[in-house]
Symmetry: C2
Subunit: 371 residues, 2 copies
């Protein structure tokens, strides 16, 4: 037995952040990139190809013991072609569909008796609807893209004209907060969750996470963990998955699933004994899972979004001097306004300090504030 | 200003462990390797060359903003040639000499009034000596190589015959323990130390470190820090340095210096908010230094030494399942008996548990025990 090779389809920041644990564990990584300039391809062994072409992926997979995904864009037909060719792909197509198709996901949650928002597929015969409601494209949306708040039948028809069918419509829930929980599961069925995370959103984009959730009861944290474990088992997850939840009157209701390492789990790099990136490698290789214990009382993560400034190096001098405990993660992506170009994490026991320093650093990096 | 490129001369495990913080900080790494099979060259951008040839290193340095070392083997004449060619090299030749030549180091410690063992250069006219004493080659020794316990004039002459001149001889100190402290210093003079570390040695090789040192007084920890800072300032260090110390009757006496990331600082990867590898990058780039605060009450590191087994992957299944909080660092070096092929670190608040689990894992990986 020798050290295995993991192939990742995708070479963005999630693949980039997988390099560190793969290096430590001695696992070889190979990336299937769209372009050599992509975040992880800049520094890791890769080939450039088209992930919609199954013959290219099958050729890539020949050098890998296991293949996994960094995004939801690989078509089901291509994943199934890989499986038919004998490639070990995790998550498997029949699991990954719930991360790719929101209608399939809603059906599965109902089947598993996991609480969903009231939902249906919009068609021209849909009878009376109460507005406002949420309309979502079944696939392809993220960071608020493909999700619409709709106030009238006229707006709804407009959205369908833009997005196309099938269109998922859901009740607009009066949630008090949004949270997320990461879960990992391996082929032999070992599973582990991390502490649930508060996700602070702005315009549909997560700007900050706080872990554990301030004021959450033990019972509620256990409930979140039970939901994540039940879904992981129900969809036969192999790898890590983010479960995004709404809290409504103390109830937890599933919003979205993502079957890969996820922004709401970035805090685990410093905040947990095993990061989501390491755990994903362990899970897909069927190695025992690592401890998900916290390394500190609190972990606060802030996303760095591109602003008008394109120089992302110089602000280091200021922020590193101001807050020597800040952990930086630069994705080295081309800076565009509103684009996630990095994140920072701070761990410690003074939550107010952690939150204010992270908020300051985010605003300083984006150029929203000057000092 | 854009993200800088750091060139490392050497591509062993120290360069390998620098990949993770360079990736997070967005810093480009280039390695000057001896062979593509070397630990870090397996996964990082590199060229293969001969570090004794200044023209090769000068060509390599053209693509780098700063060049640094992973080992002490680059000749002084070559480092000075790089400096003359305008290459920014850290540590500089006049600093690095104290890491390369133990006689120069002893002279400098005396000049700085830092406590040394009694020492002299052995020559045939050296008058009466009291045995046993320690004889050391001035350069090239590490992990106990080049260091000899000598019991008689006859043995001493034999050692000199083997090692050559100049031969450093030192009093053999009745130390109660060996410790080490890491220090970082940047060109603008900012300096930081980590908590001193107990180094447990066996046959001149460090097998385990425990941080902080059990039972050390605050005054003694401060004293170790003062010594490290005084040396760093006195030699105009830029980068990180390990100061290895003997404790004799409560006094701290300098044993060795290493001006690079060092085995006694590996615990900082998980045990400190800023690892020695990240701090070295920050220091040589003149970025503000990161926090050296501890992430846990205790950090215990164990070196994985090669044994008869050459399969270093399969033991994962057992050890990961037994101790889910173990952090593995595989160097992916060819396994040879006694060779350092990786290390593990465990952090937490139960020192006895951490030590016994690390000791078990080390013995299990080497094949010394079977379960």
């Amino acid at each position: 037995m020798s050290f295995p090779t993991v192939g990742i389809i995708g070479a963005g920041q999630l693949a980039r952040m997988t390099i560190a644990p793969a290096t430590a564990l001695g696992i070889n990584l190979k990336l299937f990139a769209g372009a050599p300039s992509e975040s992880a391809a800049q520094i890791s062994s890769h080939i450039v190809g088209d992930y919609t072409k199954s013959e290219e992926l099958i050729a890539f997979a020949k050098a890998c013991d296991v293949v996994t995904f960094e995004h939801e864009l690989v078509p089901q037909s291509v994943i199934r072609a890989l499986e038919s060719a004998g490639v070990k792909v995790y998550p498997r197509s029949e699991t990954f569909i719930y991360s790719q198709d929101k209608i399939e996901m809603r059906r599965k949650m109902d089947e598993l008796s996991i609480r969903n928002p009231a939902w249906e597929i919009f068609d021209s015969h849909t009878p009376e609807l109460s507005f406002p409601l949420i309309a979502k494209s079944a696939s392809g949306g993220y960071d608020g893209r493909g999700v619409f708040v709709v106030n009238s039948m006229e707006e709804l028809r407009e959205v369908r004209g833009k997005v196309g069918a099938p269109l998922l419509i859901e009740e607009k829930l009066p949630f008090t907060r949004e949270l997320a929980i990461m879960v990992a599961r391996s082929p032999h069925g070992q599973a582990a969750t991390w502490a649930p995370t508060l996700t602070v959103q702005s315009d549909g984009i997560c700007t900050m996470t706080v872990t554990p959730i301030p004021g959450i009861s033990d019972a509620q944290a256990v409930r979140a963990s039970e939901i994540a474990l039940k879904i992981a088992d129900g969809v036969k997850l192999v790898g890590v998955m983010a479960v995004e939840l709404f809290e409504v009157d103390g109830e937890l209701i599933v919003n979205e699933l993502a079957m890969r390492s996820h922004n709401s789990g970035h805090w685990t790099i410093e905040g947990s004994q095993t990061s989501q990136f390491e755990q994903h490698l362990r899970a897909i290789l069927d190695l025992p899972l690592g401890s998900t214990a916290l390394n500190a009382e609190w972990a606060v993560m802030g996303n760095l979004l591109g602003g008008e400034k394109t120089d992302m190096y110089r602000p280091y001098l200021h922020l590193m001097a101001r807050t020597p405990a800040l952990n930086f993660h630069q994705y080295r992506k081309e800076v565009r306004p509103g684009r996630k170009i990095g994140h920072i994490t701070l761990i410690g026991d003074d939550l107010e300090f952690l939150q204010s320093e992270v908020a300051h650093a985010v605003d300083y990096m984006s150029g929203a504030i000057d000092e």
